[in-house]
Amino acid sequence: MRNLFSRTLQTTIIFLVAGGVMALALGGYFSSSSNVFTVSLVNLQSWFSSRFVAVQDFLTAPRDIASLRQRNADLEADNAELQAQVIQLQQQVGETQILAALVDFSRANPENTYRAAAVIGRDPSPFLHYVIINRGSNDGILRGMPVVTGQGLVGRVDAVIADAARVQLITDPASSVNVRLQNAETEASLVGSVTGDVTLDLIPQDIRIEIGDLTLTSGLGGGYPPDLIVGQVVNVRSRDFDLFQQATVQPVVDFNRLEIVLVIVNFKPVDISPLIPIP
């Protein structure tokens, strides 16, 4: 009986001491020594854990590689799709910018009625500078109508079918546009060439032309409406023995990057060819 009492007492004391130590430890009284102990435990735990994970990875690697490859393929497919979307959106942004510029132009020139058209091709012959647009007689396009962009004059409609039209650019060698020089207050004829350069011809010798002078359509001849911007003078050639001066003009429109154009559909070109005397 005494033996049993002493064991119970011993167990109780041990529990009390252990509880007391734990209470003191939890209370932070052994912080320095318990830190060393817990750090050692954590390090040991980490060591075992890392070894176990390594072994587990080794044993389950083939399955993971397969799943990773699948995942990689899925992500690559997603990436390709997103890249395609980005390209599509970039194109849409570009088109929107062009259309916004055209809308600005039409607001700035409310006297005209415009029909927007996309450039879908170019003339198959390198001798000619024509573009093909995706609007035709079904959209009210007629031969002779002027074509512009937000920057300025592009050319005029040369031939029309139901859903497409061919536009002669002002850079075409057969093109001739009556223009006026804004600063010099004189008129001249703007002609294209096979290389795409445009030249001002028939400028009187007594007129002073400055580089940078703005060129606008004069409206003479009835082929184009007046005051459409054509370009700027970049070079002047004046020789004493010539009847007229010549000047090279830099068009304001970039004809290599034509995408969307505006056809002025309320302009009725005047055919003055019957009035021109035949020699």
Partner: protein
């Protein structure tokens, strides 16, 4: 019946020419895909419809282009005639024949267009045309010649299959 493939092929060639090839220029010259296609087609030994192809292509290009309608037809007829002459003489070296037809055909077609345009009153300086337009066009057409020849050879074998020997 397989000869009817000519129509979609010619239409496709003209669409490719106006939509893509015409936008790729070297100086002022550009390749002429229908011309190279016709040269490659006419050089195939078994082909008997070259003139039909040239007529159809010339009419279509004449319709699309601002050139007078007969100018492309004349040019393509010259190319087919050249190809048929060379095909009988240089039959052992088809690529040499292809290059020769492309080279000479491009120059003659270019000169024909130049003549027709000058006669219709378009002021075109000959030196500019030869240096900036014709020669670059010749170079671009020569670059197109080999792939086009390969495609047209396969097409010719499909349209005119070899008779089976029993």
């Amino acid at each position: 019946m397989r000869n009817l493939i000519a129509l979609p092929v010619i239409i496709l060639a003209v669409i490719l020419q106006t939509a893509i090839v015409s936008r790729i220029s070297l100086l002022s010259g550009m390749a002429d895909l229908p011309l190279v296609m016709l040269a490659a087609w006419a050089l195939q030994e078994e082909v008997e419809t070259s003139w039909h192809w040239a007529s159809a292509t010339g009419l279509l290009v004449g319709f699309v282009s601002g050139l007078p309608w007969f100018a492309p037809i004349l040019g393509y007829f010259v190319v087919v005639a050249l190809a048929q002459i060379l095909q009988r003489r240089v039959w052992q070296a088809p690529l040499l024949a292809m290059f020769s037809v492309t080279f000479v055909g491009t120059i003659i077609a270019s000169l024909l267009s130049l003549t027709v345009l000058r006669l219709s009153g378009v002021p075109l300086p000959v030196s500019d045309v030869l240096g900036l337009l014709t020669l670059p066009s010749v170079l671009l057409n020569l670059l197109l010649a080999i792939p086009t020849y390969a495609v047209m050879r396969d097409l010719a074998r499909w349209v005119y299959p070899f008779p089976e020997v029993e």
